[in-house]
């Protein structure tokens, strides 16, 4: 096994460095040491490192020069491989494992490095993926693989593959033999130049896709992050020097080099002028920058000529002899997962190793909301709070990774390039193609992040292909599924039937089924004809409790003049919207100071209502109950804080669903201390305690519904008491932590069983 020396160069980024060191404790490959090279720092970096005394090798670099810092790390390295990572990056769990695999199985490779993903929610992108560069300074878009834009164009030149400085590894002896990094490159181009030099010296430089690093760029002395305010002249000096040196030594085309330098300087000057026009920089800064640009250009060319004149070809450097100091210790294995952006982690003391879980959800907040995506988002937060590493795989237009709400969110695009025989069944065709794309992506996540278990909702069956492949244990979380919905809305199409059957197959191929209520468990037996001995475990959904001051119990001492009844859910038959419509006039006959607020998208097309009546739900209501219209407001789809405000400001929550596997909406209302009314159907009775936290009525019974609404609206005391009892019930049983604990138990059981087998 190869020994690794991880070298981190840092200046004034104590927080980022701390996050990186915490993240390194999660590496699956243990045979590595950490060398931190600290430049002339002004912040508390050195204090931060005291915590790691005895575990890391600390070196001071007298000047702010990245190449010099890298060389100091190289000389001090006691490992066979020197791996460089930026202080504002986080490696994937198998980073060193993958690098070790590459160096072990490919003895000719002298240098390698994996992809780099920018994961900040403000600017997610693939930052580097198999880069390609030439010594005349030309490069293809390093965010795409070089294999994607072959054959290379332009004037036949010496193209070479390159890594990004954030994520690169070298055989130590090779790097020493070529003289390490050229210290004229103070900040940029060091990674490019070394790749060119190694290739020119006959070594194999081969970046790879795996061994990912997640980058969260922070500001430094040379750049203000997420702006264009950067000391571009450092770039100019490096680019000029690089291209001139290689022109002089390798006799590349002078015209190309001139073109490239003109482009670099020209674009920098344009940028400064634009920044000045936008009032981001002052006039003196503008002139100063231009002066520095010209100075950098001159210095770059001068240094290159000097190099040629004195034939100062890099000579081998000698490394120090130091003993290898392993970074990992006993406590490393039970460290909770870390948020790479905030640097925070769960305040828990773990006994067992944290899990690495993938949650699948085709839709995911904040871009797309639905019941499944919201519950997945809440679960991710809960699992992170318990110390686990969570990855969410969702659909996106392009492949990106972001980190928020305690999870790495991977956006996976898909094309309709598979399952051609199913084209005439468009829903199935799309879903299977997406499921296959997810499966391919999961195989990459196994390689990089060592994921252990996949959790998929039954809805849209994202994890179908993975479950069938048996590549990973798959936990299926059934919610109200297609088969139930098609029965409720009476859709007898063949595609709906087939969807139901495929759902059944997913359940049969699941490693375990995690049902969110007893009702779901029962429905699984009834609807999908599962065997009684099928492995189904129970857990309860939960939500993040609102702060106490955000709750709005009913002010029974001073009731409002107009009472508000809130409905949240899609406008469709299954959600009981027609029953609510029928109940509204009955309520208004007895209580006049009431308004109904109906929130949710109209689903009349999909549930067949439009076909039957030729109208959508709001139009239907307006036509059939014109006298009630002034009392009812249809707000359409509302999510996030606006929805929370509606929950806060209502006095009673009503959702007469004909079936809910669980009913997240009820606990959302209970969160703000609101009484609720639901039906005795599905999992609702497990949430709503009839006569304690609200009322339950029979499904398809508008009369009962109206009576329950009237009885509560007429009793301010009950509105208050039911609301408060609901809030307490939520805190006792239905928080995101309860939900995560329930599923953690299931995941651990599955993994334990696999280990035993």
């Amino acid at each position: 096994m190869l020994k690794f020396s991880v070298v981190i160069s840092t200046i004034d980024r104590a927080n980022s460095l701390k996050t990186l060191l915490k993240a390194l404790e999660h590496q699956s490959y243990q045979l590595f040491e950490v060398i931190v090279v600290v430049g002339p720092t002004n912040d508390n970096t050195l204090d931060t490192l005291k915590e790691y005394e005895g575990r890391i090798c600390l070196i001071r670099c007298p000047v702010a020069n990245l190449s010099m810092s890298r060389n100091l790390g190289l000389c001090a390295a006691a490992g066979d491989i020197v791996a460089y990572i930026d202080d504002d990056a986080i490696p994937c769990r198998n980073w060193l494992m993958q690098l070790n695999y590459i160096f072990t199985t490919h003895p000719h490779i002298a240098a390698t490095g994996g992809s780099v993903y920018l994961i900040h929610p403000l600017q997610p992108m693939v930052q580097h993926n198999l880069g390609l560069f030439t010594f005349s300074g030309k490069q293809y878009d390093v965010r795409r693989s070089w294999l994607e834009h072959l054959p290379i164009e332009g004037e036949g030149e010496f193209w070479t593959m390159r890594m990004m400085g954030t994520n690169m590894a070298y055989r130590r002896d090779v790097l020493l033999s070529v003289g390490g990094f050229d210290e004229l490159y103070e900040w940029v181009y060091d990674d490019i130049e070394i790749a060119l030099r190694l290739s020119a010296a006959g070594f194999l430089v081969r970046p790879v896709r795996e061994a990912r690093v997640y980058h969260v760029p922070a500001s430094n002395r040379n750049r203000k992050i997420y702006t264009f305010i950067v000391k571009w002249w450092i770039n100019t000096k490096a680019a000029t020097y690089l291209t001139t040196v290689y022109f002089l030594f390798f006799k590349s085309s002078f015209r190309n080099i001139k073109k490239y330098i003109q482009f670099i300087v020209g674009s920098h000057i344009k940028l400064y002028i634009n920044l000045y026009k936008q009032k981001q920089i002052s006039l003196s800064y503008l002139f100063g920058s231009m002066f520095y640009e010209l100075q950098a250009l001159t210095v770059g060319i001068y240094k290159a000529l000097q190099k040629k004149l004195f034939r100062s070809i890099p000579t081998p450097i000698k490394g120090e002899t130091r003993s290898f100091k392993q970074f990992m210790n006993q406590s490393s294995y039970t460290q909770p997962s870390i948020d790479p952006i905030k640097g925070s982690r769960a305040d828990v003391c773990l006994v067992e190793q944290p899990l690495r879980i993938v949650l699948l959800s085709y839709n995911y907040p904040p871009k797309r909301y639905d019941g499944v995506s919201i519950s997945t988002n809440i679960l991710a937060k809960g699992l992170f709070a318990l110390g686990h590493t969570v990855h969410v795989v969702t659909h996106g237009e392009q492949q990106l990774i972001q980190y928020y709400d305690g999870a790495y969110v991977h956006f996976v695009p898909y094309e309709l390039k598979r399952y051609a025989p199913l084209r005439h069944l468009p829903i199935i065709h799309h879903r299977l193609n997406y499921s296959h794309a997810v499966h391919e992506y999961l195989t990459r996540l196994v390689l990089n992040d060592g994921i252990q278990i996949v959790d998929t909702p039954l809805w849209l069956f994202d994890g179908f292909v993975t479950a069938l492949s048996r590549a990973l244990p798959v936990v299926v979380r059934p919610v109200t599924a297609n088969k139930q919905i098609s029965e409720i809305i009476g859709d007898r199409s063949y595609e709906q039937y087939l969807l139901g059957e495929l759902e059944r197959q997913l359940l049969l191929n699941a490693t375990i089924i995690a049902a969110n209520s007893n009702a779901t468990k029962k429905a699984l037996y009834d609807v999908y004809n599962l065997d009684k001995d099928s492995d189904i475990e129970n857990y309860y959904f939960g939500i993040e409790p609102a702060a106490q001051e955000q709750t709005r119990p009913f002010p029974y001492h001073a009731p409002p003049e107009t009472l508000t009844v809130l409905y949240v859910g899609r406008l469709e038959k299954r959600k009981g919207i027609q029953d609510l419509f029928a109940a509204i006039p009955l309520v208004l006959r007895q209580v006049r100071n009431v308004q109904f607020v109906i929130v949710g998208p109209d689903n009349s097309i999909n549930d067949g209502f439009m076909n039957q009546t030729g109208m959508d739900y709001p139009t239907y209501f307006a036509r059939h109950y014109p006298e009630c219209r002034p009392y009812v407001r249809f707000l359409g789809e509302i999510v996030g804080d606006k929805l929370n405000a509606l929950y806060q400001n209502c006095d009673l929550f009503v959702a007469p669903s004909l079936y809910e596997s669980f009913g997240l909406i009820y606990i959302e209302a209970m969160n703000f201390a609101k009484p609720v009314i639901g039906c005795r159907a599905g999992g609702v009775p497990e949430i709503v305690n009839d006569g304690v936290t609200g009322r339950l009525v029979d499904p398809n019974s508008p009369k009962q519904l109206a009576e329950a609404i009237v009885s509560l609206l007429r009793s301010p005391r009950l509105l208050y008491e039911y609301g408060m009892a609901g809030r307490q019930r939520l805190l006792d049983y239905f928080t995101h932590i309860h939900m995560a604990q329930g599923l953690e138990r299931i995941y651990r059981r599955v993994l334990g069983q696999m280990k035993t087998n």
């Binding site: 070089w146 294999l147 994607e148 072959l150 290379i152 164009e153 004037e155 036949g156 025989p421 299977l432």
Partner: protein
């Protein structure tokens, strides 16, 4: 009458797609395809009637194609070596399992020679040598203007044609040289692809054997 697709059909399709996926895990095949298109494009550019491309552009295109092929060969070679190692590892594993099994079906006689890949390296070296011998700095304009000057014009034209023929002679030599390099590249890529496939098949067979042995052991 068309037959309805059943659940079993869908499951079979998924199984098929999963099997396909194991064969095309990267886009090297696609890159080769793109290279092929590129070559065809330049071929037609050179031979088409109308304004011919500049000789400089042709040389650049040839070099880029060579560079691309070199990188593809390198990539394939790396994959090939990894497959070899995996094969050797599996072979060792199986050998250790069947030592007590009267050594049946070891199939050593028809194995490919794993250690001898020197010919690929030799070929790569010869390509590098050939590349070094080609001077990329041609800067020749092959377009010719005919002189209509009385008496001397005809002589001038003759001289010009002679000179151009001379240039063409070297160009065609150069192109021939490039073509031979391309041929070697192509052969090597094909060879590597073939060997990789062959090894993949053998790996699958060995993996199957391991599975059988494990089952046997469990019994």
């Amino acid at each position: 009458m068309t037959q309805r697709i059943t659940v079993e059909d869908v499951l079979k399709l998924i199984e098929f797609e999963l099997a396909q996926q194991s064969l095309s895990q990267d886009n090297i095949a696609e890159a080769i395809q793109r290279l092929h298109k590129f070559q065809t494009y330049w071929y037609s550019e050179i031979l088409n009637k109308g304004r011919a491309p500049k000789i400089e552009n042709v040389v650049h295109a040839l070099f880029n194609a060579n560079q691309t092929m070199l990188m593809l060969i390198q990539t394939m070679n790396i994959k090939f070596e990894a497959t070899q190692l995996e094969l050797a590892r599996l072979k060792q594993f199986i050998a250790s399992r069947i030592v007590g099994d009267q050594g049946e079906n070891r199939g050593e006689g028809n194995e490919l020679n794993l250690s001898d890949i020197s010919y690929i390296k030799d070929s790569l070296n010869s390509i590098n040598q050939s590349l070094l011998n080609v001077n990329p700095s041609y800067n020749l304009d092959i377009q010719m203007r005919y002189s209509s000057f009385p008496i001397i014009g005809a002589l001038l034209n003759r001289l010009r044609i002679a000179f151009h023929r001379l240039v063409y002679f070297y160009i065609s030599k150069h192109i021939n040289n490039q073509n031979s390099i391309n041929e070697i590249y192509k052969r090597q890529i094909q060879e590597l692809v073939y060997l990789n496939l062959e090894y993949m098949n053998r790996l699958q067979a060995l993996a199957k054997k391991v599975e059988e042995l494990t089952k046997k052991e469990n019994k």
